[in-house]
């Protein structure tokens, strides 16, 4: 079923959401992909301060294309979440309540989502032009030298996703018969 969601998403609201719910997100997302995760993890490991607090945040796994004239951001669909699996528990321990990407996750991520009463949401892979229309503001927070892998904060409206792992640990990638 279709639901409008305002970010930040409180714990009570997260607990009400179930796998396959079709959500339209409004509010702030933190954008980070491979390189930003590696750098944030290194900062955490050495005990250095992060460039932002991750408490209550929603991370979107994405690296945008160049913005066309008149665009706020270039094409900006999700990247494959599985590559961020080794970092996800660490980020959720820092306060991240939901992540957005595409494709399946590890068992470790499912456990981390459950523990945090969090969510894993899938955005629609390859739909970069559509997602660019949902972004109303964008600014670089850190790692500007990494180009499309910089850490960003974006404001989105009517940003379509599907709940893929819910706070109870149910996953849409569980029940599929993959026997040939």
């Amino acid at each position: 079923m279709r639901k409008e969601i305002q970010i930040p998403i409180g714990e009570d609201e997260r607990k009400k959401l179930r796998i396959y719910d079709q959500l339209y997100l409004n509010g702030q997302l933190i954008v980070a992909r491979d390189s930003a995760h590696k750098r944030l993890a290194a900062l955490l490991k050495e005990g250095s301060p992060l460039p932002l607090s991750l408490k209550g945040k929603v991370i979107y796994y994405m690296g945008p294309a160049q913005a066309a004239v008149g665009q706020i951001i270039g094409s900006c669909g999700p990247t494959t979440s599985a590559r961020m699996d080794p970092f996800t528990a660490m980020m959720m321990d820092e306060g991240v309540v939901a992540t957005i990407g595409k494709g399946p996750r590890s068992e470790e991520v499912r456990d981390a989502v459950k523990k945090a009463n969090g969510l894993y949401l899938t955005a629609f892979g390859g739909c970069g032009a559509l997602y660019a229309k949902c972004v109303k503001k964008s600014r670089v927070i850190a790692f500007v030298e990494d180009g499309p892998e910089a850490l960003l904060e974006i404001e989105v409206e009517n940003f379509p996703v599907i709940v893929a792992i819910d706070s109870a640990g149910n996953s849409v990638f569980d029940k599929k018969k993959l026997d040939v």
């Binding site: 690296g63 599985a82 494709g103 739909c127 990638f173 599929k176």
Partner: protein
Amino acid sequence: MHNKSTEDLERQIADRLIEASSTLEPSLVEALLKMKSAYENLVKQQDICDERRNQLLSSLQVLTMIEENLKIAGQDKVPMCQDTGMFVVFADIGPQCPYTMSELEQIITGGIQKAVPGGYFRHSIVEDPLFHRTNTGTNLPYVIHWRTCEHGSGSLRFLLKGFGSENCSASRMLSPTTSPDAFIEEVTRMVIEAGGKPCPPIVVGVGVGSTAEMSGVLAKRALLREVGIHHSDEEYKNLEERLLNSIQKTEIGPGGFGGPLTALWVAVEHMGTHIAGLPVSVAISCWADRKARVEL
């Protein structure tokens, strides 16, 4: 080098690459829309459980969003996907080709240098792959595979190869006594391993024969073939059909949500091989199998 014809060719390359980033070939769009209407019918089934209906509704939603995204990309002339890929070039050189290999390499570089800023491509390429991973900011270097052709000047064909799907590539050295049935099982296993990661629905290229490295090139070459066009050899055409059926049975579904349709097309390319071996490689493309062609 910088006479009119080389500049024209650079411009043509740039135009085709930009077009490819926002528009898919008609037969691929048709295959996507056909799959969408199949899922529209599937969700109407009465005798299915809630879980199955949810899977099918999610898969349908993926295809609906893809259709909407293609409309926006086409209208706004922006990349359909932020991953505008790594450029993989297939140069087929004929006896009438007016350029040397090094001239062509420079012309391709020139075309890419025009396309990347002109088409708002993402800077997706790093220089040193292991130690520094510094973004080149140019989408260079590109990958090129050369081959000769018998007649005419030849052509340059390009894949804009996204890496969500590239990361799902696989190769194996099978036993030479492998049966076609076991071969199909092996390729299907490789696709299952990819699962929902490469942005299904997918286009699958299979390279069989030759050597370990060449089978990978053959698999990529198979992705160049227009969706809907089978191999000209009857046995390989039949193999493509059987592989497609087998991949549909994986139940991966659009976005990995599940469903009886996962692949848009399967193409196989083959070459002779050694008596001791049967190399096979699988190249997977996301639904956005973006390609461009320029005649020389």
